[in-house]
């Protein structure tokens, strides 16, 4: 069974102007990932880990430096992103952006915002068919018809979130990438939007890539979670397995850092410091070495590959393989 999305050796390097050395910033470095049809995958990691770059690469807003992105077997990276905008496959991947980044055009009414992709991608031309489709999508996301004539600044946070979602699902994509869709919302509104997203996924048979810094939310919505660090994937696991028994030290620190009222007053091991530089990192050393509570000679000699540590569970750490947490000497 071909997975819906297949990412092979995807890399994105940005050249940094330094005295004639051709230094490059490794935003995303040799990433492999698959997303199945109808699956909801979470993508987490701290700022600078490459998740925003992944969103842009998979959303085909930027071109990769190396590697491929295959959607249903078709290589999307065969053409540049500029040409992709007018290709037939553009409608198959859509992104829901963060409200905080002004994701709605201030001079477009809600109706226009939802109608625009229908016009461009489905060739609908301001006719009855387009109107019907916009109204149907608005109903699908729970946006009352009378709000369609409003501008973004006249809508509440929750309503804006719905417009952003409607705009993305109007063209019925196969893969929906969600970049922090609820981080700007109050918790009272968040639950409704999350349930809406879960509902939509089932109804429109979409796959999700859900990027968030809020691990509790990721746990609610995703069946599988990918953890990134400094441009590389360090762990992939089923959601429950990641949160109950993470294997990579970074993932462990991440899970331990989630505020938990039940653990009040407990002193827990904390991950201090900052990540090492993403500019021309040593290809033969683990990126987490130095900041990692564990560390051995092998960590500086060989980049740990992503290896199976359990059913459907992969971690890129020399310490992760052996069950008692010792170093895998293989």
């Amino acid at each position: 069974m071909t997975p819906l999305l297949e990412v092979r050796s995807l890399s994105k390097f940005y050249p940094i102007k330094r005295a004639g050395r051709g230094a490059r910033l490794h935003a995303v470095d040799d990433v492999d990932l698959t997303i199945g049809a109808g699956e909801s995958v979470g993508l987490v990691g701290e700022s600078g880990c490459g998740k925003s770059t992944m969103v842009r690469l998979l959303g085909r807003l930027i071109d990769p430096t190396a590697g491929q992105v295959l959607l249903g077997g078709e290589d999307l990276t065969a053409i540049t992103q500029a040409k992709f905008a007018s290709s037939a496959s553009r409608r198959r991947i859509q992104v829901v952006f963060q409200d905080a980044t002004e994701s709605l055009n201030p001079s477009f009414r809600a109706f226009q915002a939802i109608a625009d992709p229908l016009k461009r991608l489905l060739g609908m031309n301001n006719g009855a068919e387009m109107d019907r489709r916009v109204l149907a999508t608005a109903a699908l996301v729970g946006l009352p018809e009378e709000l369609l004539q409003r501008y973004p600044h006249q809508l509440s946070g929750g309503q804006r979130a719905r417009v952003g979602i409607a705009r993305a699902v109007a063209v019925e994509p196969s893969l929906l990438i969600l970049d922090e869709p609820t981080s700007a919302l109050d918790v009272s509104v968040q639950a409704v939007i999350l349930r809406l997203l879960a509902d939509l996924r089932a109804r429109l048979a979409m796959s999700y890539l859900f990027v968030s810094h809020d691990l509790n939310v990721v746990r609610l919505l995703c069946s599988r979670v990918v953890v990134m660090y400094l441009g590389k994937i360090v762990e992939i696991a089923p959601a429950e397995a990641l949160f109950t028994a993470p294997r990579h030290p970074y993932a462990q620190a991440l899970v331990a850092a989630i505020p938990d009222p039940a653990r009040r007053g407990e002193a827990r091991p904390r991950l201090d410091g900052s990540p090492t530089s993403p500019i021309d990192p040593d290809p033969n050393a683990c990126r987490f070495y130095g900041r990692c509570p564990k560390g051995a000679d092998i960590c500086t000699k060989a980049m740990p590959p992503l290896r199976a540590v359990g059913p459907d569970h992969f971690a890129a750490c020399h310490f992760a393989l052996s069950p008692h947490g010792g170093i895998d000497e293989r």
Partner: protein
């Protein structure tokens, strides 16, 4: 004895769209060494409370009634010069978005020295050493070198530590932290919150932690005050609030906040929306969204019910 006491505070803002009654009869106290969380959603008035205590509201704000005392000093009656003296020395505030709250064109060491010079009265030659010591206290590695850095050279977490260092440089007795970790990664958030908690305990500082994250407040605060639309609806010890919430809003907020054990089907949203703070408001500002509402809730004055000495709730029909 409470170090910081807010008593029956009401604040209004005159805007071109009408008078916004941002705070109504807010009462809260913090004792030495205590961390009290003020939890609320956007529009709840938690930041307004913080700014009013610090005396940082703009001219449109009017304090229509109430008192704020800190260590016996009446803050509302204090002259601007007196407030300026207190700010930085006796009471300090740390803000959201640390990188934008620091002066971008001044080295961080110098910014700490500025605070010390203004409030600690140290001789000039001791300033640099004191600034480096302040950076070391917040566990910034290599403080002598970091003191020479500009904010843009430091990460968000580092900047927040610098802001904490500045706030605590003169060991104030009151610290107000306004969403100090929003926008920071969860790993950095944990470190910063641990730091705030440790410094509060060791210097016996009264700390007001303002946040929208009930989970965060649950882990770090001794007591929590929940705010809704300019009212404090409930104050209780953390255990009591999380296990036996008495106000319907508190209960709904808890049910809407995802915690590790949550399931999507169980997560609820809170129906309705905030009342317009400019118009006619019923005595209970939550009544429009409350399922337990009775006619009397919209007529009679809202009482404070004391469920136990440390647990008060502003509701006629609190949950048992």
């Amino acid at each position: 004895m409470a170090q910081l006491e807010i008593d029956n505070l009401s604040v209004e803002f005159r805007t071109r769209h009408g008078v916004v009654r941002a705070l109504d009869s807010v009462s809260l106290s913090v004792t030495r060494g205590e961390i009290v969380g003020v939890v609320g959603e956007s529009g709840s008035g938690k930041s307004v409370t913080a700014y009013t205590v610090m005396g940082l509201n703009d001219e449109a704000a009017q304090i229509t009634k109430g008192n704020i005392t800190m260590g016996g000093i009446d803050l509302l009656a204090a002259r601007p010069e007196a407030m300026r003296e207190l700010r930085g020395r006796e009471m300090a505030m740390i803000f959201q978005s640390p990188r934008t709250a620091l002066n971008p064109i001044r080295k961080v060491g110098k910014q700490i020295e500025d605070v010390l010079q203004e409030h600690a009265g140290l001789p000039n030659r001791d300033l640099r050493k004191a600034a480096i010591a302040a950076l070391a206290r917040v566990r910034i590695p290599d403080p002598e070198r970091r003191a020479e850095a500009y904010p843009f050279e430091l990460s968000g977490g580092m900047c927040q530590r610098v802001m904490i260092a500045m706030a605590l440089a003169c060991t104030p007795s009151v610290l107000i932290a306004d969403e100090p970790t929003t926008g920071l990664d969860v790993t950095t958030q944990a470190v910063i919150m641990d730091l705030i908690r440790d410094m509060s305990r060791s210097t016996r500082m009264s700390t007001l932690l303002i946040t929208h994250d009930l989970g965060l407040a649950g882990e770090y605060c001794d007591r929590i005050a929940v705010m809704h639309a300019g009212h404090i609806v409930e104050i209780a010890s953390t255990e009591a609030l999380l296990d036996r919430p008495a106000h319907p809003y508190t209960r709904q907020l808890l049910a809407a906040t995802p915690v590790p054990e949550s399931r999507l089907e169980d997560l609820n949203s809170i129906p309705g929306h905030l009342p317009d703070l400019r118009g006619e408001l019923p005595p209970c500002r939550f009544s429009g969204r409350c399922e337990r509402r009775q006619p009397i809730c919209d007529e009679a004055e809202l009482p404070w019910t004391e469920l136990s000495p440390a647990h008060v709730v502003r509701c006629r029909f609190p949950l048992s």
